[in-house]
Amino acid sequence: MLMSDFGDKITIRRIDAGDLHHVVDLDERVTGQAKPAYWQDILERYATRRLDERFFLIAKAAEAGAEAPVLGFIVGEIRDWEFGSKPCGWIFAFSVEPGTRLQGIGEQLFHAVSEEFKAAGVKTMRTMVGRQNQLHMAFFRSEGMVAGPYIQLEKELED
C-alpha cells in the first residue's frame, strides 16, 4: 500500500496488549525518549479498567495483519470535577507515525475518541499542548479546538 493510499483503509480500534510495543516504538521515535514502563502502566489503566470512560485507541492499516505496525494512537478519558469542571473528555496522549501524517489518520483517531466521549455523555473535550508544539497545536485547531476557560499555571520549585 502506498503511503498516500490510506483514507478509509484505516481501522481504528481499542489497543490490545500485543500492540503495545508498536506504541512504545512510535512514541520513542517521535519524542526521542523510550518509556516502556510508562506505556505498560497506561495500558493497564486505560485498556483494562473502566472502559466506558477510558479510551486507548490505535490506528492500523485495515488489511494489515496482526503484527502490522501501529500508525497512530490517541488516549483519552472522562474526568469528573477536576479544577471544578463538569465532567469532560481529556485527550492526554496522541501521535501519528511521521511517514503517514497528513493523510487523515490523526483526524480519524480524533473523531473516534470524540464519538466515545459523546457516547459517554460529555459535551466538551480538552487537551493541553506545549506552546512550541506547532504540529499538535495546528492539528487540534484544525479540528475546531480553541482556547478553553482555564489557563495552565506553573512554578519552578526552588531548592
Partner: protein, 143 residues
C-alpha cells in the same frame, strides 16, 4: 503583539481567495466586501504577491487568485509579512529598569508568547473551517 490593519486586511483577502483558489477576485471587490480603500488593499496585495501567497492576473476579468498552501500558511506567517512579530515589548532602558518595569515586562512577554503561539497554530485552512462552523449566511467566501 498587535495585529495592524494591513495584517488584518491581508488575512481577510487571503481567506477570501483561498476559499476558492480557482476564482479571480479584483482588489475593488475585496475592498468593497471588507469596507477598505482599494488603494490600501493594493499595497497589501502587492506584499502578498511578493511572498508567493497570491498571483496577479492582468487584463479584463483579471485580479488576484490564491497561490499559497492554505494548510501550511499560518496567521503568524501572514502577520510577519507586515510587522515585526519578534516582540513589541521592549524595555526602553534595560540596564536601569526598575523591578516594577521588569515585572510588567515579564507579564507582557507572557501574553505575547501566548498570542504568537495562537497565531502560529491557526492556518488559513483552519480559518475557513472556523467560518464554516460559524455558518454566516451573508458571507460570500465558500469552503
Amino acid at each position: 503583539m498587535q495585529v495592524q490593519k494591513s495584517s488584518q486586511l491581508a488575512i481577510y483577502a487571503l481567506i477570501e481567495l483561498a476559499a476558492d483558489p480557482d476564482r479571480q477576485v479584483s482588489v475593488s471587490e475585496i475592498g468593497e466586501k471588507f469596507r477598505v480603500s482599494a488603494h490600501h488593499l493594493a499595497k497589501v496585495m502587492h506584499t502578498l504577491g511578493r511572498a508567493g501567497l497570491v498571483r496577479s492576473i492582468r487584463g479584463v476579468g483579471g485580479g488576484y487568485s490564491f497561490s499559497g498552501n492554505a494548510k501550511r500558511t499560518t496567521l503568524l506567517d501572514v502577520i510577519s509579512l507586515f510587522e515585526d512579530t519578534l516582540s513589541d515589548n521592549n524595555l526602553s532602558d534595560p540596564t536601569n529598569a526598575t523591578t516594577a518595569e521588569l515585572a510588567l515586562f515579564d507579564v507582557m512577554c507572557e501574553i505575547d508568547d501566548i498570542a504568537k503561539a495562537t497565531f502560529g497554530a491557526i492556518t488559513l485552512s483552519t480559518m475557513l473551517k472556523q467560518m464554516e462552523r460559524r455558518g454566516n449566511p451573508t458571507d460570500r467566501a465558500t469552503v
